[in-house]
Symmetry: none
Subunit: 202 residues, 4 copies
């Protein structure tokens, strides 16, 4: 729907941004129609560049995907690090989910790429490791949360996964616009996610 550009017949030079436009077009397509349906002619057209130009910037379509993916993961993982600086365990989880939700609203494709698009078999080992790192970081947090008596008995890894899945639900709906900032659902689900992993402290 409406990409504002309109350079008909003779596009030739936009002083800067070929690579940026390529990445933007690719991430949008990958996260909407999927990797296979994002053909190189389509990506090029959406980016307003020639098909061959893709290969000046990336070795292959898979390489393009992996580079974009890792950049996205890095951004999200950085938020976990940042939250680690807070004192209280629940505050950390809040901080992470809050920032991620903001990102989901500001940049839905990024969230979709990392959490919603099925990239099975397309990610290289570096990318898989990057993806793992998110769960690993969350797991570390959960270990500390357990030590502080906040988290249920059971594997910290599992609670990291449980919490993440419910957060992803929130991100998904936030990214789609179904749950705008003033909607009550995000808070409800995040609170529910907390209940899912919290120890039944009295």
């Amino acid at each position: 729907m409406g990409n504002g550009n309109s350079l008909p017949t003779k596009r030739k030079r936009d002083p800067k941004g070929t690579r940026e436009r390529l990445i933007k077009a690719a991430i949008e397509l990958f996260t909407t129609v999927g990797f296979h349906a994002s053909t190189t002619p389509l990506i090029a057209e959406r980016a307003g560049i020639a098909e061959g130009t893709i290969y000046r910037h990336f070795d292959s379509k898979e390489h393009l995907l992996n580079e974009i993916f890792r950049a996205a993961v890095r951004l999200l993982a950085a938020q976990i690090q940042e939250a680690g600086k807070l004192r209280e365990f629940p505050d950390r989880l809040h901080a992470i989910s809050a920032t991620w939700v903001e990102i989901a609203r500001a940049n839905p494709p990024l969230i979709r790429l990392v959490f919603l698009t099925d990239l099975g078999g397309l990610l290289d080992s570096n990318s898989e490791a990057a993806r793992e790192s998110i769960l690993n970081e969350l797991e570390k947090l959960m270990v500390e949360g357990k030590a502080a008596g906040h988290v249920r008995a059971g594997s910290a890894r599992i609670w990291a996964d449980v919490w993440l899945r419910l957060v992803i639900l929130v991100l998904e709906r936030s990214a789609s616009g179904d749950w705008p900032p003033d909607h009550p659902a995000p808070q409800q689900v995040l609170s529910s996610a907390w209940s899912a992993i919290a120890s039944a402290t009295r």
Copy 2:
């Protein structure tokens, strides 16, 4: 390698079974390597039939996928209906998850097809409706659960989704064999799923 000859050395006739074998091969491939990587030559080879034979039974590869998908959904949805006959709300949820976990262990591809494989853009409207029906049925259950004071405040639909996502986590690990029947994690996560949606009633 073309053995153009015709020495029926191998399999030739299973009077009943061409269609079954085709479906089995397709579901296994779709859920392991994905729809695009499941090429018709590959499906045919795995099913032990000729490529052209696929089109005796299904109009297209997408049609094949959709038929299989709907059959799988129907099976799972039936368990919800079945559980609806039980009196107590929590028992119903237990019954559903328990049966699904059994299915996941007995027939991992089926569970993968419905819950784990990304089929974005490949499902027709009938199939999408079938998929929706699972959430719709769960939602109905949640409505009743709310009426009985078991479920948190908030949209029943949301709690259906929350509960389902955590159950899917269990199904995923059960289907993969990571969590065998005697593993404690399934019970922990299912209990966690209940906490996620349960009202804090005493």
Copy 3:
């Protein structure tokens, strides 16, 4: 030069011969315009088949080349074997060159493929071995020729190569039609080839 076929607009089925026509078209193109200029669309068009059909018969363009090449080499090598049955050394060489010249006249592309077309880097190890086998067989002959006092001092391998190069000159001109059967040059050059390797017997 004029492939006599003429099935316009709607070619569809020629009861037999797809593979044969493909091979014929390929060998003609490889030996006239070269491997790189023999594009798959061109080969297909010349063979009167669809481009994709090439790949039902051969894994790749290189595979196609190698299969054709080896078949051609086998044919030529067989003539050396055959000649080995003759008693006298000079008769053997005569027999080989005579048969090869016949082949060159009857099937110029075959000779071109083996001896004239530059296939550097395109042949797989099997094909290279096949090509070597021609020189190896000739070398064996030369060893016997030396033992019988017919061949000059020096490495038998070298005299095999020397003799072959001059025979190739004859084959080249015979294949091109420059030297028809009644032309004196072939005999002159073959006699010259003999002088090149013959010991200065008194």
Copy 4:
């Protein structure tokens, strides 16, 4: 304005030499990997210049090939002229082959380009004429050799070709390093080449 940045970390200026380096890189690549595999990115990289710079010096890749080829042929043809000054016919042939062998050892790519690399279809008419000129010059020599009773009966053109082919064998092996200066084979083959074309006088 030069290039905006300015960290002359690498090579930058060989005031004289861009064209030379380009030619050197091209001839090496053409004669080792072939014309098609000698891509412009590769040539440019090997020459240490930018891809676009090739087109400052040559209209096209084919043009580049042809210019190089003609320069090489001119060098070799000059040796024939030079040898023409000698009195005796056999000395002339000796002189030519000796100089060429030296060139083959000093500059293998040059010899490969003219005699060994298959350039079918890539040479323009000027280049073809240049290539012909070598045979023409040799033919003239052979005509004189016949007049002096040194050369066999038959077309002088043919004996030029016969002699050349065996000399090429020597050049090939000398260029590859298989036959170093002290190896006996070159003399044997050159003597054999002489036998191939010499009249059976005496």
